[in-house]
Amino acid sequence: MSLPKRILKETERLRNEKDTGIKATIHGDNLRYFDVEINGPEGSPYEGGVFELELFLPEDYPMSPPKVRFLTKIYHPNIDRLGRICLDILKNNWSPALQIRTVLLSIQALLGAPNPDDPLANDVAQKWKEDENAAKATARQWTKEYAKKVSDQKEEA
């Protein structure tokens, strides 16, 4: 069985994706494996940073959710040290009507609205609750240190 038409079509549509600050390109020769870039949303501590992720569409996608992980170090209560993401639509709340694009936009939205009450990284969540400003400052610091800069990304293009 060749690659499902849906994956081909999604890939095609992602190629034309513009102005949303998300980018997904096929990694090597595995048509189910994507290199992803997400721009930190404006007004968040991640603004100005470009975060690298990897995404894989398992065999039974879209009946099962894509697997996604941050490769860029990020300070966020719902993302752990290995870049794993706690987001309902990637788990129990997945629906086959969602797509790669919607998943990436949801992750971007998660950056703009952290949820320390449902943490994956406990230490970060703790900090977020105790002293949100300090936590955000750390997040900004990490963004500066580890994420690519939006300006660099534009130069590349």
Binding site: P62, S64, W94, S106, L120, N122
Partner: protein
């Protein structure tokens, strides 16, 4: 786990936004992927004990036996699955050749590659009754301005060698009968096909709905059935006389031909094709509609959506232990082991578009009828001469209210998997059995514990954690078991790397702590074994050994018990099948057969 941040903003596709939050979506759970690998490569260290060093007792042999048993089971399972897959493929080919409903098919078209666990017989029946859209062939591309010829060519291209028309021509060519092979001539002989298809669908159901020993029966049955169906379709002249007395069709008949109002049915069907929002393929505009939000969904996608596997309720997960590691084992102990079995649950699938629970669809068929019909419907005007609606309802009228899931015209995902409740009951029973075994083990461990002179930390630690350990092995909790306290890593806490040259005595400490960890126990850091007396450590060591032995024995006992039970069920099943072979509804029987299979699988994976 839920983090519903930014939902409204993100869901802009396809068509309807996916607003609001719902229960956990059944569709979101990963489906079972056939076990791979391990069975393929079977090397054993034989238990050839020729050196006279036969181990005292049979413990060593038992240990080895465990691997062997598991591998043997996996190999047997893989073989059964392979045979079942071959049968399924044959049946698919036959059905593609011989059966259609309004230009669609009665078998899936390969959009999804995983194992099919819906009841084929039920789905087939629903499609013949026009309550569920047939499996139309999906087109990768479609343009509104395509001509009839282009549309037909597109469908043919997608079908490839499965094109029934081509196969018909080929088949006819080989035959020496004088029948004209024109596809446009209504083939009256096909009127007798339902008999064959009925006999086929019987064996089909029995082998595809379960991979248990039924497949053996089915595969030995099938050649005969296939022969019969071949004879039937290839030598039509005889068939119409010879066969009908053999089996009475359950009210099925065939409206022959491929023409609607002088146009090819595919041209008519695909003219205004729609894209299914889930598989992105183009289908005739006669698709199922969700009962809740009136969204299109093709049957290929619909049959994939199902309940979540039995699991513990979401809020019932173990608390994150990292904040207070010491209290965690105690908390778990009080949760009790038997209670969890009853808590196992499985919610109905929810709508992929609007998240409404009890997902169901309705279907409005095209205004013409072709292929298999129920005899009661046969009196409606033949499609080849008229396109007047055979169905009272008019297609493409948008509903403005949503239908309840128990409305008669709604087909739910539970309807095509009627065994879900049995599966749940089975999972509960199994969890309860395992919990009981765990309790027994725990009691044994506790008794040994009380014989020890010391009551130092490691001992109590072991007792309370042993229960936790056993709970972890439990498939019910295992499924939803959260990660270990140090959730970021699986690094052994006391993995023996702390010091390259352990002090004398440290290895003992290492043993007890690392041993606990090996057994899946996250021993609280505070209860280091260091303070225990040497004697106590000896006891720990002895007990760990005993515990492991007991676990192995218990695992074997459980697997034997379940195997026994599986056999009993199979025997019962066999009896039932033999006794009432032609009863109309085989769903109940199939369900328990499937159960038997799943019990075998569970043993295989976690035993």
């Amino acid at each position: 786990m839920g983090n519903s941040v930014g939902r409204e903003r993100s869901y802009s596709n396809p068509g309807n936004g996916v607003g609001g939050s719902g229960g956990s979506a059944g569709a979101g759970r990963p489906f079972v992927v056939p076990a791979s690998g391990s069975s393929r490569h079977r090397h054993h260290h034989g238990i050839v004990i020729g050196d006279g060093e036969r181990p005292s007792g049979n413990a060593f042999t038992r240990h080895e036996q465990r691997y062997r048993d598991r591998e043997a089971r996996e190999a047997a399972k893989a073989e059964k699955e392979r045979l079942a897959a071959i049968e399924r493929e044959k049946e698919r080919e036959r059905s593609m050749r011989e059966e259609n409903v309004d230009g669609g098919f009665l078998v899936t078209q390969g959009v999804y590659t995983g194992a099919e666990d819906f009841k084929h017989k039920i789905v087939r029946q629903l499609m013949i009754e026009r309550r569920l859209a047939p499996f139309f062939k999906g087109l990768s591309d479609h343009e509104d301005d395509w001509t009839d010829e282009e549309l037909i060519a597109a469908v043919k291209a997608e079908l490839g060698e499965n094109d029934p028309e081509e196969n018909e021509k080929k088949g006819k060519g080989k035959e020496s009968t004088a029948t004209s092979p024109s596809s446009s001539t209504p083939n009256i002989d096909h009127l007798t096909v339902p008999i064959a298809s009925r006999s086929r669908s019987h064996s089909y159901t029995s082998d595809t709905s379960s991979t248990s020993a039924n497949s053996h029966r089915a595969s030995s049955n099938n050649p005969a059935a296939r022969l019969r169906s071949k004879t039937l379709s290839n030598s039509p002249k005889v068939s119409s006389i010879a066969i009908p007395t053999q089996q009475l069709a359950p009210g099925e008949a065939v409206i022959p031909g491929r023409q609607v109002d002088g146009r090819h049915v595919w041209a008519v069907l695909y003219k205004d094709a729609l894209e299914c929002p889930i598989c992105f393929l183009y289908y005739p505009p006669y698709l199922n509609k969700t009962r809740c939000c009136d969204q299109e969904i093709c049957s290929e996608c619909f049959v994939q959506i199902k309940r979540a596997d039995p699991h513990l309720p979401d809020h019932h997960q173990e608390p994150s232990t990292s904040s207070n590691p010491a209290s965690a084992p105690a908390a778990q102990s009080t949760t009790g082991t038997t209670g969890n079995a009853e808590l196992l649950t499985s919610e109905p699938a929810s709508c992929p578009f609007c998240k409404e629970t009890d997902f169901g669809v309705t279907y409005t068929p095209p205004p013409f009828r072709l292929g298999l019909v129920l005899q009661s419907q046969q009196n409606s005007p033949p499609a080849t001469t008229s396109s007047s609606p055979a169905s009272p309802s008019t297609p493409n009228v948008r509903r403005h209210h949503h239908l309840p899931h128990n409305a008669p015209q709604v087909v739910t995902t539970d309807q095509i998997r009627p065994d879900w409740s049995q599966k749940l009951a089975h999972a509960r029973a199994q969890a309860a059995r395992r919990a009981a075994a765990a309790t027994a083990l725990h009691t044994a461990a506790f008794l040994m514990n009380s014989t020890a002179s010391s009551s130092s930390n490691p001992l109590t630690g072991l007792t309370s954690s042993s229960r936790r350990m056993l709970r972890r092995v439990d498939p019910a909790t295992g499924a939803s078991s959260p990660s270990a306290p140090n959730s970021g890593s699986g690094t052994p806490q006391n993995g023996g790397r702390s010091s390259p040259n352990p002090r004398p005595g440290q290895s003992q400490e290492l043993l007890s702590t690392a041993g606990l960890q090996l057994l899946g126990i996250n021993q609280p850091r505070s209860s280091s074994a260091g303070s225990g007396s040497n004697q106590a450590q000896q006891v720990v060591r002895a007990r760990m050994e005993d515990l492991e032995e007991m676990m192995i024995m218990e695992a074997i006992r459980l697997s034997l018990a379940e195997e026994e039970e599986r056999k009993k069920r199979e025997a019962k099943e066999q009896q039932k099948k033999d006794g009432s072979g032609s009863s109309g509804d085989g769903a109940g029987g199939e369900g328990s057969a499937a159960n038997a299979t799943s019990s075998g699988e569970t043993v295989g994976s976690s035993g």
